[in-house]
Symmetry: C2
Subunit: 98 residues, 2 copies
DNA sequence: AAAACAATTCGATACTTGTCGAATTTTAGC
DNA sequence: GCTAAAATTCGACAAGTATCGAATTGTTTT
């Protein structure tokens, strides 16, 4: 395995290696799946209520997920919407398919 | 997702979230794949030469991989053999298959 | 039994990081 | 413009952890 690829994987795993961030990621994942029916839902505001942490912490965690390229975010006016990055899912899926 | 399942996943991700441990895991993974031809190879001794860390550190990292149920170990006399846990691979594969 | 080798345990240390409060920025609605 | 709401930035602190050296345990070999 190339060093570059290993680094990318480490970054992703690290991003998912904390309870709050994993939950954050799963929420976004499930929201994405449910996004067929309704419009995409926002986050920091919506999810902050589910997780028991403050806004600064959510912001920090989201940035790490983005930095690991697990999700991407988009500003929609006052809100911030999040989407799972399909590339990342595929990449990780392949890694564990042996 | 159940809390118990989330905790297990976090443990696995944390175990893979460090460069040396990921490399360790990948080495074991590749060794397992190559184990059809030859006999299973041992580790701390063999792998320690590839990774640039001391024996105590390897021992510590291996314990974490075992604790996360990503691998299992078996004593073979003086040596310690490692095998990837297929259950874990499947579990993680499913998680990213969406 | 003695020496050599593989691995583990134990403490200590340096570094990383999750969280918060306070202050700041950005956008919406009045 | 002013106020409220959503999100970000900043600084600080507590907790966790990767690594090492030294000492220890267990096993093989001579």
């Amino acid at each position: 395995m190339k060093d570059k690829e290993a680094k990318a994987l480490v970054k992703m795993f690290k991003a998912l290696s904390h309870p709050n961030r994993l939950q954050l990621f799963v929420e976004i994942l499930e929201q994405s799946e449910a996004a067929f029916e309704e419009g995409q839902d926002c986050l920091a505001s919506t999810i902050m209520e589910k997780l028991n942490v403050g806004a600064p912490t959510i912001s920090h965690h989201l940035k790490e997920l983005v930095n690991a390229e697990l999700i991407s975010t988009e500003r929609k006016g006052k809100f911030l919407t999040c989407q799972v990055n399909p590339e990342a899912m595929k990449r990780l899926g392949v890694f564990f398919a042996r």
